[in-house]
């Protein structure tokens, strides 16, 4: 998911965005909690459909509102959005109403017929998720067979003549050594590489400590991003790395509630896709006034648009570069929102984490499949040789 557009305008624009806009530039819209996969780091704890998900007509009303507000495009995600039976109908409705669509998919429905159709539109962009440049690294996180599914989808898009679709990778300790290999895969399929930050959100909270990059890897990633410049997209998600030195391309600003937000499958509006928690819930589009009223009148969004104080970071010489980092990353690791990011490159995050409470906030909603999720790395042996309880081992998880 992209948090902010890959903006080309630096400088003063950031200051204007800081105080919020009358309408989002873009927003993330998760159409369903249903998913064929069970990725260990899923931001939205997706798996099973929620019976209260927005109907086709309600979705079209949302699109009408976005058209009126002149929201440029929506980043559609989920769950796996393409499993909704009305998915293509909604994509067509959005583009016919001048709302561009970029959707994230694991590729499960991207057949050659679908690819041909997508290649024909300027107003639809596709983002294929892949978290390992090899099946071993990818499938450990996203599940068995998911690498093959994504590669087939990219092959279909490439064969259909779709150029410049996105290959979207969440950076982890396991895949940072594969940066060049990801670039090679993107190049092979005429795609653009998009790297984003692992957040401790949703099920990601359970695996963050094992998956997030080491300090050395963060430096390696920063240098790689600087070397590749605007060829590689980041959803502007690595602005905390700007405290290494020069800023990365794009908006170096947390856009939550200011220029972006999230609409979830049941119509709840959150400040950002990484903050599905009641503390960041601004309202619901089913309430009177709909999305427009939530965006313009929510007290939560008003507070996010107030000038930053910087808190504990104010005295740090790098504050103007990183602006304290990611709100969601702090929240779900138990850190105060006005202090350092847990991955602060100046080292303040590690110290803060050591002092943080051991119980961290849990996501407010969980639609995970009722089964043992994929485990990272090697599966551990049964707790006891006679253990038959399907939940065995789960108690040991964080």
């Amino acid at each position: 998911m992209t948090l902010t557009p890959e903006a080309s305008a630096p400088g003063k624009l950031t200051d204007l965005f800081q105080l919020g806009l009358d309408a989002p530039i873009c927003l993330t819209w998760e159409l369903t909690y249903a998913c064929n996969l069970s990725c260990v780091h899923c931001l939205s704890s997706s798996g099973r459909r929620d019976p209260a998900e927005l109907t086709t007509d309600e979705c079209k009303q949302v699109i009408d509102t976005l058209e009126r507000m002149q929201v440029f495009y929506v980043n559609i995600g989920g769950g796996e959005p393409t499993v909704r039976s009305d998915f293509w109908e909604l994509v067509d409705y959005a583009t016919a109403h001048h709302v561009g669509v970029k959707f994230s998919t694991n590729g499960v429905k991207i057949t050659s017929e679908v690819a041909a159709r997508l290649a024909a539109s300027d107003y639809v962009d596709v983002q294929i998720s892949l978290d390992g440049a090899t099946a071993a690294v990818n499938d450990a996180v996203r599940g068995a067979g998911s690498y093959a599914t994504a590669m087939r989808a990219m092959e279909n898009l490439y064969s259909a003549g779709f150029r410049g679709f996105k290959l979207s990778v969440v950076m982890t300790r396991q895949n940072i050594p594969q940066l060049d290999a990801f670039k090679a895969i993107a190049d092979r399929f005429g795609a653009q590489l998009r790297l984003t930050r692992l957040r401790p959100s949703g099920r990601g909270a359970d695996v963050w400590h094992d998956l997030h990059p080491t300090a050395e890897q963060q430096r390696e990633l920063y240098d790689w991003l600087v070397a590749h410049g605007e060829q590689v997209l980041t959803g502007d998600s690595f602005f905390h790395l700007s405290a290494y030195g020069s800023a990365l391309p794009g908006l170096n600003l947390c856009g939550a509630g200011r220029v972006v937000c999230l609409i979830d499958p049941v119509g709840d509006v959150y400040a950002c896709p990484f903050a599905i928690h009641e503390n960041f819930l601004a309202g619901n589009i089913r309430h009177p006034g709909g999305f427009e009223t939530v965006w313009r009148s929510s007290s939560l969004f008003a507070s996010l648009r107030a000038p930053d104080t910087g808190g504990a970071c104010r005295s740090c010489g790098f504050y103007d570069s990183c602006r304290g980092g990611c709100m969601a990353a702090k929240f779900f690791t138990g850190l105060p929102l006005d202090g350092p990011d847990p991955e602060c490159v100046q080292g303040y995050g590690a110290a803060a984490l050591a002092a943080a409470p051991t119980s961290t906030p849990r996501p407010s909603v969980d639609h995970s499949h009722r089964k043992v999720p994929v485990t990272i790395g090697r599966r551990r042996p049964p707790d006891r040789s006679c253990d038959e309880n399907p939940l065995a081992g789960l108690a040991e998880r964080h």
């Binding site: 557009p5 080309s8 003063k12 806009l21 009358d22 440029f72 495009y73 001048h98 561009g100 300027d122």
Partner: protein, 97 residues
């Protein structure tokens, strides 16, 4: 769509907001989003917005500037702004049908 290489903005030619660009007025000027390049840009005041919006109504970009009250002294700055918009494909040259 203009296929000219960067740096070829000619203020005496006819221009238009590219058909694939959406322009959204804002209190500070406007935001522009190009659906082909998927890039965002912005206009930083109301006068440059007036110029850009009226490009299609004038025989040249120079005429659009004049109609919006841009003086000779201000013209170099507006030329630079329009040139940057042309480089990023936000505006494109109108071709005879």
């Amino acid at each position: 769509m203009s296929t000219d290489p960067p740096g070829t903005f000619d203020i005496d030619r006819p221009w238009q907001v590219d058909p694939r660009v959406s322009l959204r007025p804002e209190p500070f000027g406007a935001l522009l989003y190009h659906f082909g390049t998927r890039r965002l840009s912005f206009l930083k005041n109301q006068r440059v917005l007036a110029v850009v919006r009226s490009l299609a109504d004038h025989p040249s970009a120079r005429a659009a500037c004049a109609a919006a009250g841009v003086t000779e002294a201000e013209l170099p700055a507006y030329t630079r702004a329009l040139s940057a918009l042309a480089d990023s494909k936000m505006i494109s040259e109108r071709r005879a049908a």
